[in-house]
């Protein structure tokens, strides 16, 4: 965790740091649309802040905050009109980079021959507006999982390589957030094209904005902005620093990888299994969970078939199905699989934690299971049990 934390202290300002007002946000969306991007960002819909295509900056959730608790999500009106003073909603950017359902290829029987055809549709070119630092890290983690090994997921790579990432640093963490514990926020780590920090005070509503890539710098140059003033910069930095002290949750001070490996037979798993509904919500809202299944379908002629890829969840009984039955039949083993993978074996497989501390799994668990509370309970067990840890 300590090594990860280094990248998330406020970074020295780039030479092209600027300050822009609300009109700048409108111009930014216009520039992105003009450059051919499909702009995706937060907007209010169905009682939640969701990620959707934005045609103008007016659709941003100005004046909306959220109240988060285990198993609870509520919108809350804000008096300051801030657009990004709200913590993670139910969706993450994986919905766009690693879609829940996508056709991979088609198969046709043509005069007795099997003809297999890749899906050649060009990937959409996304600009993600309002990526949180925790979600920026989540994207980096999915990059490693899906394109960092011997095999590259072409679907993901096609969408990811064209995507522009516009990060908004976090100044309003939720009660379920613990990015500081995971070293992923509230300041932005590397990998963004543009980063901004929203400031609303007596001097007005404005954004301290910096570029992190040549394309980001080009876009920045097109915006109606003025050179950054020290007051705005310092206010913005102070707000991010203050956010770090207002995390609602924290992970236990322990090597989580060792903790997971050493507690596979802890009685706590029976306790959480008594509450877990194995609904898989935590895996669907998790910004790094990447598991998929395949579905092969045929049309009525029987001569045309398609391979579809769908999100899957390790909480599904079928997930570990072998010819003799599922390997992980109990809910105890399935919750354990999810949590030990996220916090432990992810390191072995992909070189980092699989958790970014966004807290979505806590919020969207229908029975309010809290991964930080479970980790703390396991940690206490190892402290009490000489054989653990």
């Amino acid at each position: 965790m300590s090594a990860d934390a280094e990248v998330n202290t406020p970074r020295p300002p780039a030479s092209d740091e600027l300050v822009m007002g609300k009109d700048g946000m409108g111009a930014l969306v216009d520039v992105l649309v003009r450059r051919g991007f499909t702009v995706v960002g937060p907007t209010v819909r169905d009682g939640a802040i969701v990620l959707a295509e934005l045609l103008s900056a007016d659709e941003l959730p100005y004046g909306w905050g959220v109240e988060l608790e285990a198993g609870r999500y509520r919108l809350r009106e804000r008096s300051d009109g801030a657009a990004f003073a709200n913590a993670a909603g139910p969706q993450s950017w994986k919905s766009f980079l690693h879609p829940a359902r996508i056709r991979e290829w088609s198969a046709d029987r043509v005069e007795g021959e099997l003809v297999l055809t890749a899906d050649q549709a060009p990937p959409p070119r996304y600009a993600f507006l309002g990526v949180r630092p925790c979600d920026l890290r989540a994207i980096a983690i999915q990059d490693q999982v899906l394109t960092g090994g011997a095999y590259r997921d072409a679907t993901y790579q096609g969408r990811r390589s064209g995507a522009l990432l516009i990060v908004v640093e976090c100044t309003e963490p939720g009660a379920t957030c613990f990015c500081v514990s995971m070293g992923t926020g509230p300041a932005a780590g590397p990998g963004y094209d543009l980063v901004m920090t929203e400031v609303v005070d007596e001097d007005g509503h404005r954004f301290w904005i910096r570029s992190g890539s040549p394309e980001g710098a080009e876009i920045l140059a097109e915006l109606p902005a003025r050179p950054a003033d020290p007051e705005t910069r310092e206010t913005a930095r102070a707000a991010v620093t203050a956010a770090a002290d207002r995390m609602g949750r924290t992970m236990p001070e322990a090597d989580l990888r060792e903790l997971m490996a050493g507690t596979l037979d802890a009685p706590r798993w029976d306790d959480v299994a008594g509450r877990c509904l194995t609904c898989g919500n935590c895996t669907m809202v998790c910004p790094t969970c990447f598991c998929t299944t395949t579905e092969d379908v045929t049309d009525l002629t029987g001569d045309h078939a398609e391979r579809w890829r769908l999100w899957d969840s390790c909480f599904d009984l079928d997930f570990s199905q072998l010819h003799g039955g599922p390997v992980r039949a109990s809910s105890r083993s399935r919750y354990r699989q999810w949590m030990t993978h996220k916090l432990g074996t992810w390191y072995d497989q992909f070189g980092s934690s699989g958790c970014v501390g966004c807290g979505r799994c806590i919020v969207w668990c229908p029975v309010g299971i809290d991964i930080t509370e479970e980790a703390a309970a396991l940690h206490e067990w190892t402290a009490a049990e000489p054989r653990g840890g």
């Binding site: 090994g149 095999y151 072409a154 096609g158």
Partner: protein
């Protein structure tokens, strides 16, 4: 390519029965061919419209020069593959996974222990060792099956006798069965192993591999010279679908063949 590439079309050159529910199929490319497979590596075989399953190559070069896979009909896809006939087409991708470490076995006695259809991924090992006797010490093949009728590659197993020591055991003998009865580990009792110079390659049901590997180590085999081939649900074979996890391992990527030392503790955790 903006999405996952499709498999390559292969044609069934021949099929033949191994047991009442198990058939071997030999596949030849209709166009572009896959890279060569190593013993223990697997292919994803796509049955048109039904789905795709991971199956290890049971021979790297069949009579028609193609890849041979041996399929037991247990689910929808494997049943569709079981029913293939010469001339039919499938999609094939691979080779995937980490195969048997035969370099580690070079210069050593080779002990192959197979349970049921677990002999299929080990058969290319036997072929390799028989083809290159100077590179290896003694070859011993132990085969366990439920009943005499469930023994795969029966005729071929008999042909290995001579250059190899071959022992076969069944759980439930039928009339006329003259050989051993019992689980495959019981065969170890009657072997004159040279444990300090033996490499063991084990494939079968997980419980069989766990007991076999443990017994071999008890008998003096160096744990690092025991390899097992593990099985989990797989959908992608490229480390991206997440199904094949065994603790820290992604078995499609880090296996299916893994060193026993790497998994000895993992195999003791229930439902991992």
């Amino acid at each position: 390519m903006t999405t996952v590439p499709p498999p390559l079309p292969y044609r069934v050159a021949a099929t033949w029965a191994e047991t009442a529910d198990t058939r071997s199929i030999e596949l030849v490319p209709t166009g572009e061919a896959l890279a060569p497979f190593a013993p223990g590596q697997f292919a994803m075989i796509y049955a048109f419209g039904v789905g795709e399953v991971p199956i290890s190559a049971s021979a790297l070069r069949g009579r028609h020069g193609g890849l041979v896979h041996t399929v037991r009909a247990v689910g929808a896809v494997s049943t569709a593959l079981y029913r293939l006939r010469p001339g039919d087409s499938v999609g094939l991708s691979g080779p995937y996974g980490t195969g048997w470490d035969l370099e580690a076995a070079a210069g050593h006695d080779v002990l192959v222990v197979a349970g049921g259809i677990g002999l299929a991924p080990l058969r290319p090992v036997v072929h390799t060792v028989l083809d290159r006797p100077a590179d290896y010490g003694r070859l011993t093949v132990l085969v366990g099956a439920r009943t005499p009728a469930d023994i795969v590659f029966q005729d071929e197993i008999e042909s290995w006798r001579g250059p190899a020591q071959v022992e076969v055991t069944v759980d439930r003998p039928g009339p006329g069965w003259q050989r051993a009865v019992g689980v495959v580990t019981t065969l170890l009792d009657r072997l004159a192993l040279r444990p300090e110079r033996t490499c063991a390659l084990v494939c079968g049901p997980e419980v069989m591999m766990r007991h076999t590997a443990r017994d071999l180590v008890t008998r003096g085999l160096v744990p690092h010279r025991v390899q097992v081939s593990l099985e989990r649900n797989m959908h992608c074979a490229t480390g991206h679908c997440g199904h094949c996890q065994l603790g820290p391992l992604l078995l499609c990527r880090d296996g299916p063949v893994v060193g026993y030392v790497r998994v000895v503790d993992l195999l003791l955790v229930r439902e991992l």
